[in-house]
Amino acid sequence: MSIQEHERQFRQLLDQHTGLIIKVVRSFAENKDDAEDLFQEIVLQVWLALPSYREEAKPTTWMYRVALNTALVWKRKEKRRVRGEEAIAIPELISDGMTAEEKRQNNQIIERLYKAIRELPTTKRALIVLYLDGFTYREISEVVGLSESNVGVSLNRIKKQLEKLMNEDMS
């Protein structure tokens, strides 16, 4: 793959999946500094993993694999990057096509949801993020490398746990 082709594919993938990366970052990072660091790390890993990307793989599944793998084994850095710090600015996620009131309520739910997800153990976070994004059990099992039945059983437990956490937060 030529460097121009590498760059073109990279930009295309990022343009289409920035939201996905932000969702993973917000589900794993506890604060703004960590979020920026993890975001940069995921973008870097996408760049490095791109030569091994095969067109037959679904881009969203591939991006989720790279992003979740990075988030799962990510080490918090004592000293954050200095040189590349301003290379990437994390954009805000917005909810389209809603009235101002609907947006406010929706944002509240999303904020609580992220908070609840971050209270789950890391591997559970990976499963629920994929589930919430509409992945089927089969697709989730491909990303995590567990059997479909195992994913199903685990997700049932996680959903209950998540609902409990959300209810606790509301009360």
Binding site: E7, F10, R11, L14, D15, T18, G19, I22, K23, L44, Q45, W47, L48, A49, S52, A57, W62, R65, V66, N69, T70, L72, V73, K75, R81, R83, G84, A87, I88, P91, E92, L93, I94, S95, D96, M98, I109, I110, L113, P121, T122, T123, K124, A126, L127, Y131, L132, D133, G134, V144, G145, L146, N150, V151, V153, S154, K159, L162, E163, M166
Partner: protein, 199 residues
């Protein structure tokens, strides 16, 4: 609609515009980090090679008296060879797009290898360099005691021993601590998956 479906709907309603990414800057950062690591290793190898040559020259000038410096030369060259081999060895890259479980296994193996490398620092780097300093100093004193009193010898040896011990302890207990904590975290994750507890 169940509450989890509502959450799903809210989650999927999130969207964002394109990412403002300074690709050139990011790539230069990657290149900078790679070069920094390479040049620092090359600098150490170059310095040690110069030191080995210097010891060899000293030893050659008065071989009957200064022969212990050959021991220093060999010890330092040993470290140079080990460092060069490590530098040339191509590191297998972790499967960034492998499945989560596979990726975790690879991360565990990598963390184990890193800790082993860190623990091997004593045998491969610290001990040869300590010998390079301490043995010739001692043998030079035996061969030619007039160069300094016993107290001077003990002073030098203690200085070398303390310095190298300090470096080793720093690497062992400060350098390894973070890695061991990280490995522990990974192993806990892996164990939970195995026991079908967490997932």
């Amino acid at each position: 609609m169940s509450s989890i479906d509502k959450l799903k709907e809210a989650w999927q309603s999130q969207s964002c515009g394109s990412l403002e990414l300074d690709l050139g800057r990011m790539l230069s950062e990657i290149e900078f980090q790679r070069k920094k690591s390479l040049y620092s290793d090359l600098f150490v190898i170059f310095t040690l090679t110069c030191a080995a040559l210097f010891f060899a020259v000293i030893a050659t000038q008065d071989i009957l008296v200064a022969w212990p410096w050959y021991i220093a030369t060999v010890s330092v060259l040993f470290v140079v060879v080990i460092m060069s081999r490590r530098l040339l060895a191509t590191q297998a890259s972790r499967g960034r797009d492998a499945s989560l479980v596979q990726h975790l296994d690879e991360a565990v193996a990598e963390a184990h290898a890193e800790i082993r490398r860190q623990l091997g620092v004593f045998w491969w780097y610290i001990l040869p360099l300590a010998l390079a300093c301490m043995v010739p100093t001692f043998l030079m004193y035996i061969t030619d005691p007039l160069r300094g009193g016993l107290m001077v010898l003990i002073g030098f040896e203690l200085f070398f021993a303390t310095t190298f011990l300090f470096v080793y302890l720093m690497i062992r207990f400060v350098g390894c601590r973070d890695r061991e904590a990280y490995l522990k975290k990974l192993l806990e994750m892996r164990k939970r998956i195995e026991e079908n507890d967490e997932l």
